[in-house]
């Protein structure tokens, strides 16, 4: 189980995260939505210590730290237990698809190379890229690169995979294959915390949807409730705007 309490992050004078409390159960799929610049990505980055929070408490299984006092070892532990999928894929350009996935196993988990490569091949098969094992990122499409990015996160066997707008940089033609892979992970009950603007994904896949604005969690609940009967006027306002622009064939409730 993952828990954050009283998480605060300031950039300059402004609090981008203004007291976030959140508990994630094992196997839970949470989608975070909200206007741009409300701290959604910062929340994920703080869980992974890519940003150093200014206050709060982070618990991941037996790791339980005051974030301002986290030691180097605590930070490495937190990172090993949270895998990150980046908006711009951030694949290692000097490594093949296979090596991108195996890298963490070899370097961080100290697996022998053969074992790590065998696991990476299994993952490549699961993400549908078995034939691209030896391809470098530069020769892969955006969708394929992001699937490798997700494969790299899968290899880490983290408690949770943090998805930071995983489809926002993709050309429209590649969005579906990435969402499909994420749905597959969701069916396998991989714990996921997903920041996205894909409302239909949130509606179809999430156990819980969180609406954030101004560095705070404004409202949260199961997708039916949040999309069907939002309580807070800010939530209603946001949903009206995004749902008006997202035309999907079946419509959104």
């Amino acid at each position: 189980m993952i828990k954050v309490a009283g998480l605060i992050k300031r950039f300059g004078g402004t609090a981008v995260l203004d007291g976030i409390d959140l508990a994630i159960e094992q196997g839970e799929i949470i989608v975070v939505i909200g206007p741009s610049g409300t701290g959604k990505s910062t929340l994920l980055r703080c869980l992974n210590f890519l940003e150093r929070p200014d206050a709060g408490r982070l618990t991941i299984n037996d790791l339980d730290v005051d974030v301002t006092r986290a030691s180097r070892r605590d930070i490495l532990t937190a990172r090993r237990r949270t895998a990150f999928v980046f908006q711009n894929y951030a694949l290692f350009a000097n490594k093949t698809a296979l090596e991108n996935i195996a890298e963490g196993l070899i370097v961080v988990n100290r697996w022998p190379k053969e074992k790590a490569h065998a696991r990476a091949r299994e993952i490549l098969a699961r993400i549908g890229l078995a034939d691209k094992a030896d391809a470098y990122p530069a020769s892969l499409s955006g969708g394929q690169q992001q699937r490798v990015g997700i494969g790299r996160a899968m290899a880490a066997q983290a408690e949770v995979i943090l998805f930071d707008e995983p489809t926002s940089s993709l050309d429209p033609e590649w969005v579906e294959e990435v969402l499909e892979l994420m749905k597959q992970l969701a069916r396998e009950r991989q714990t996921m915390l997903v920041v996205t603007h894909e409302m239909s994904f949130a509606r179809d896949v999430a156990d819980r949807v969180i609406f954030m604005e101004g560095g705070r969690i404004v409202e949260q609940g199961p997708p039916d409730q949040l999309f069907g009967a939002p309580q807070d006027p800010r939530t209603r306002n946001f949903l009206r705007k995004v749902l008006a622009t997202q035309v999907s064939p079946e419509g959104v409730n």
């Binding site: 992974n48 890519l50 490495l76 532990t77 990172r79 090993r80 949270t82 895998a83 990150f84 980046f86 711009n88 951030a90 694949l91 290692f92 350009a93 000097n94 490594k95 093949t96 890298e103 963490g104 370097v107 961080v108 470098y136 990122p137 530069a138 020769s139 790299r152 880490a156």
Partner: protein
């Protein structure tokens, strides 16, 4: 007699061959030492290590800002006056020292630029899976920085090979010094110097050939 005394040139070549090892040794020592020093200086600049950063800037400024020949004279003739223990410094040592310090100043800047140029998001990705800073540098940043730095570093290596010829001004009999002596004996200046020019040219071409092979290998990951 033809325009060029080819027999003289063919006779001179084996004599110059005997001095080739010294030239190559000075160049090789200079390259290795300059590369090591430059990497150190580049890391200081990238990490902006307090104190050392300012010292590094001054070092780079001086060794880029003054002629190599002046630096060589300073080490060989000047320093022993200042520091008594350096009285035994020989021309070869002074040359290697000069080449190292001079070229490391240039190389540090191109290495620094190459490190800084590696996509920041890959750094975050490496950290996000729990790599330490050292692992990040070794596995992700430096291999990619190398690819960017190699073409400019090779240029400096080429420059350095040719700059070893300045050692003759410190009384070292290397390729250039030997040629000078031979030419003075035979008065066939044109033949002597065109022969030594061909020597340098051949060494540089060999290095350039190696560079092309290295770059092909380093670019493997970036072919679409």
């Amino acid at each position: 007699m033809s325009l060029l005394d080819l027999d003289y040139m063919l006779g001179l070549a084996p004599i110059l061959m005997r001095y080739l090892p010294l030239t190559l040794e000075m160049a090789a020592a200079g390259m290795v030492l300059a590369l090591v020093l430059a990497c150190g200086l580049a890391v200081i600049r990238v990490l902006r290590i307090p104190g050392l950063n300012a010292a590094t800037l001054l070092f780079i400024s001086f060794f880029r800002g003054t002629p190599l020949l002046v630096q060589l004279f300073l080490f060989y003739y000047g320093l022993p006056q200042l520091l008594a223990f350096l009285t035994q410094i020989n021309g070869v040592t002074a040359t290697i020292m000069g080449l190292t310090l001079h070229f490391s100043a240039y190389m540090a800047e191109s290495i620094r630029a190459a490190i800084v140029g590696v996509d920041r998001s890959q750094t975050e990705a490496a950290l996000s899976i729990g790599m330490t800073n050292g692992q990040l540098m070794r596995r992700i940043v430096l291999p990619q920085a190398t690819r960017v730095a190699v073409p400019t570093l090779m240029n400096y290596f080429i420059d350095m090979i040719k700059a070893t010829s300045l050692a003759f001004t410190l009384g070292v009999t290397e390729l250039m010094g030997a040629t000078q002596k031979e030419a003075a004996g035979s008065f066939l200046y044109f033949e002597a110097f065109i022969t030594v020019a061909i020597f340098y040219w051949a060494i540089v071409e060999l290095l350039a050939w190696f560079q092309r092979r290295l770059e092909t290998r380093l670019n493997e990951a970036y072919r679409r």
